[in-house]
Symmetry: D3
Subunit: 244 residues, 6 copies
């Protein structure tokens, strides 16, 4: 089974980090193929960057369409998830979506902790239909750069954030963002509930969906596009929209 781990920003180092997490989670026989867009935001931290990144991401996916068995969107806001799910012939899963759904299988309500703003996470979780199962969100005022510089300081703040969302009723906690991935085992040792890493959850959910061998819908708004004309797009993306 070939799974594409597609970053949505243009920073290859982040792609590599995610691919390593994905390989650690993958079953024997699952091949992880990392991929990075050729244009777009270097890092996605704002609404505008998320919207712009969709194009580069979908162009990237189009190049791999038909040659992979599943796609993991390695971007914490699940950028362009619904579009990718419609566009591609194979299953597509977003990393935060994956972690949130896995968290729901472990208890009643879940929390999410991240570095920076929680606003887009709140909206994304609501769009996933899971607002009723969200106990609390918490963003610490530190950056991925801080995590590189002083990982223990970040870990201590993160421990506190996790404890806070547990106190608000979270039975499991999603780690939001690729930057926290490596920190998972360290944080888990201090946490009272299970912590969920989106890359690991996403790989396992894709292995499930591929194994189930489900057909692509041929009705509704997730059926593959067909006969759609475009202007100035990459040939692979244009071809996929044209269908046929």
């Amino acid at each position: 089974m070939r799974l594409l781990v597609a970053n949505a920003n243009t920073t290859e180092a982040i792609t590599e980090l995610c691919a390593a997490s994905a390989r650690a989670a993958a079953a024997p026989g699952t091949e992880i193929i990392p991929a990075t867009p050729r244009f777009g935001p270097v890092v996605i931290a704002t609404r505008a960057e998320g919207a712009i990144a969709a194009h580069g991401l979908l162009s990237l996916l189009a190049e791999h369409a038909g040659r992979v068995d599943g796609v993991l969107l390695a971007v914490s806001h699940d950028t362009a998830l619904e579009a990718a799910r419609q566009l591609l012939p194979c299953p597509v899963v977003g990393m935060t979506e994956a972690a949130c759904f896995a968290a729901c299988l472990l208890g009643g309500r879940f929390g999410l902790v991240t570095m920076g703003s929680v606003d887009v996470y709140r909206e994304r979780i609501a769009q996933h239909g899971l607002a009723g199962r969200l106990a609390a969100l918490r963003g610490i005022a530190l950056t991925p750069q801080d995590a590189v510089r002083d990982p223990e300081a970040v870990a201590l703040e993160m421990d506190a954030a996790i404890a806070a969302v547990v106190a608000e009723g979270a039975d499991a906690v999603v780690l939001g963002g690729a930057a926290l991935a490596g920190m998972g085992p360290r944080l888990q040792r201090h946490a009272a509930v299970p912590l969920l890493d989106g890359i690991a959850c996403g790989v396992k959910l894709l292995e499930m969906l591929v194994a189930l061998g489900l057909p692509k819908p041929v009705a509704g708004s997730y059926a593959a596009p067909r006969g759609r004309e475009t202007l100035g797009l990459d040939p692979a993306l244009a071809a996929l929209l044209r269908g046929g």
Copy 2:
């Protein structure tokens, strides 16, 4: 990996049917262990039967606690799911819960079709927090016995029910109830969207949860019971509640 497929009614033939579906879905290396309660309803079709069945089911699970890696509740109303999840040291998944969450990864909204009443399904889906992603429910006025007697007649009605929920906006459809499991491939050939069987989805989600190796929560209402006294229960169940 050893997965318990626990029926909640006392009909071994249904347990065997579910176990066969589970084995068909299991990865190499996953052992399926079927189990049937020793007392309770012969079939669960009403609210009262569901509530009564919880005791027999939890007694059954207690006997296997510590000797399996995960538990699939092979009962379409996800009977006693939250209680089992709290009680056992390993992951527990309900078959309808599993199919609904898998359906969410395939599109926007999902539908559910079943034989008989949809009322308890509607409530269960709301309790799973997924009411916002439910497009429609449809129950056909035929029974599992009809499905044995004249499977094609049931299949034709079911095709119509599936088409109806797709017309109401379902991008994927959950097959509610073990009796539909065997019918899945036949129904899928006529359906415009993917159909989801709870047993298959449950096995794959358990394989995921076991592979993730997450710890049991030690805080909140899903932490294992400890020091709870009981009267007149099976020794294994009493012991599990007492903890230790």
Copy 3:
């Protein structure tokens, strides 16, 4: 009018406490009949205990079916309420359900205070459809044992919890759990809004439902069971499920 006050745990002292509250609230002519299950948890404090207790409770109710005019579930999580409502020919009310609905008739939003975890209360209130009218929940970190040992200390903490939910907008406050029943008048003297005791509210709501003389539904999922087969259940419960 004969009202069964059915405990769901096996501790007769708690049954007696609830029966005394019920008698204090009952109208002249209302007879209170206390009943305690013969097996199950000694006290219900966790999800697993709640699920297990349903069987003993429903067995108990079956013994009284047809010989009482109404049933009050004297258990704070409204254990097996929907099942009992379907199973019995007479009205059935849960004590927390009763207090929450009464609270809604007194103002805009209500609060709930209890000893211990509020998680199951939050879920139960949502299942009752009243999440939109819930201002706040608060659980104090003391136990019913503490209330016996040092009632004034518990009362002081409870005063503070009540004041806190009033500050969050509660126009009335539900006292969660039988252990608080006796404390009601003491707490009311210090509270800015009315406090509701589930046993008293439940008795009055049952008197109302009995007086209204409403028929049992013969359609839908609350119609009485009929022709349901079981294995190894008490004869009275088995007979009620068989119907006829």
Copy 4:
């Protein structure tokens, strides 16, 4: 116990009809005191009439404040319910509110049938926080005048409306509007689920609230008004707002 049955329109015949229903439902010892506003709409059928009627209704209530033990608003849209609840020293219940809450104690979801538009009922039920328990609403295109002229024709249409909301999942059905009150027993004979009359339910809920002897809140937006100045209002109403 003295209960005021306060109409909100100026038609005494409707007041008498409601008072008769109330007396039929009242316990021995409950005195029913009918009251009709001196100004306002002759019948309330539109939003504008409902808003205007509040003044006449509250003026009427002010005259009785302190001389009754409870107030039933005998107006199907629960006109000025929250205001009356704040204003008066005794419990106040609306007739549709009463029927909806009673319906919730009988099953999972309820329906409502009425003559004319259902829009304001839908909004009122949502404001009562019960939208999640509403299965369906149905208004027949006949008027109270038709019901006087040809009661059987109206009853047959109403039977069909009731059957329709039951088919959509209602376990109990609220009869919306005073005009249906007299028809209740006739309709109940053909209905598969219990039917609820707001006047009867309201009387019983008031008997409950009076019996519980709860204090008036002294905090929040339902505390009695105090020191509020007015211009041109009836002396009793002005005095009540001034408090003191």
Copy 5:
């Protein structure tokens, strides 16, 4: 274009304040016509006052019906908004409604700050269907009288309240109540997000609705009343309800 700015309390000074704000916001060619009810509460601060005020307000509007192009309800709880919208032949907008809808066009979630209780605001925003976009409400424990006596003290508390709702995720903040109107520019200088004044927003939304030239509905519960009989109302109001 003639816009009526209708106060719902009887204090002309407040009407004048609102009219001044309205004139400051109005486009050239928009004439602002202030109006004050002849009876009712001097100030509306409680539920009872709001319900009573509806009559005086609707009587006032009836006098102007047909002679103005739009109506702004200059009352912070949007008193009688739905009734006025049905009753009048021209567009009607409430000041808090206006500010909330404008706030939605500026970001994701909005907050509201006011003097006094937030309970009725919370309910009104829910009735407007905007509960999902409300980040937080905050009421300071000071009165309009305090604002006259020591405006800077009030402004400092208000600055803190605004900062608090921004910290809870508000991208824009509604100023609740006419008393804050004059303070807007002062508060805006210290705020991190845009502040919205209901009078200004209401004038602009009415200018929009009038410019769009939309017809009055002739179906549904907002169609004009017709043939409605009344007792003891002002001739203009009675005539409007009679229609024709």
Copy 6:
């Protein structure tokens, strides 16, 4: 006042159509500046096209940033609305958002009719927080091409769709999609409730927001981006993300 009317697909004829509608709605002194992206989908009909179009649209907006006073997104799914709102220094409104909010000011619940699928509209309305005010959606199985070929046939089907959503309780109806814009006056003549055109509403709401002169937020997720690095984007877009 200069308002950009920005199409999100690359078809200039549609841009011109929208600009003409915009000019018809604009106040004297409002200049309408049409703009069409240089790359992307020729028409947006699917999820994938919507996501791809965001890049071209935001590049286009970046070229105009600072030189217009407001932006109307002339694309029926409100493509990239939140991103554009964050990115630009001036107000941004989406055409369907505009029509839905205007519809809320005219009655209780609104409907939406369109050509083709309603799925994305339903999601968009939910994201705007207005799901609770949506009475019904209806999509006719005809295309904009059909509307060019046989406008009367399309108008008749549209009349029926409008009548259907009115029957389901809509007090106002949004016309979804630019193709219906020209048809508005024809459809309004047969409709029982007001019909809302997104271009007209959007222009008026922008005139309102510009007139209010509100500041850009400097906190939260709608504050302007600053210091964001990108790869391979248009210079204007890259500069705007870099800020400064």
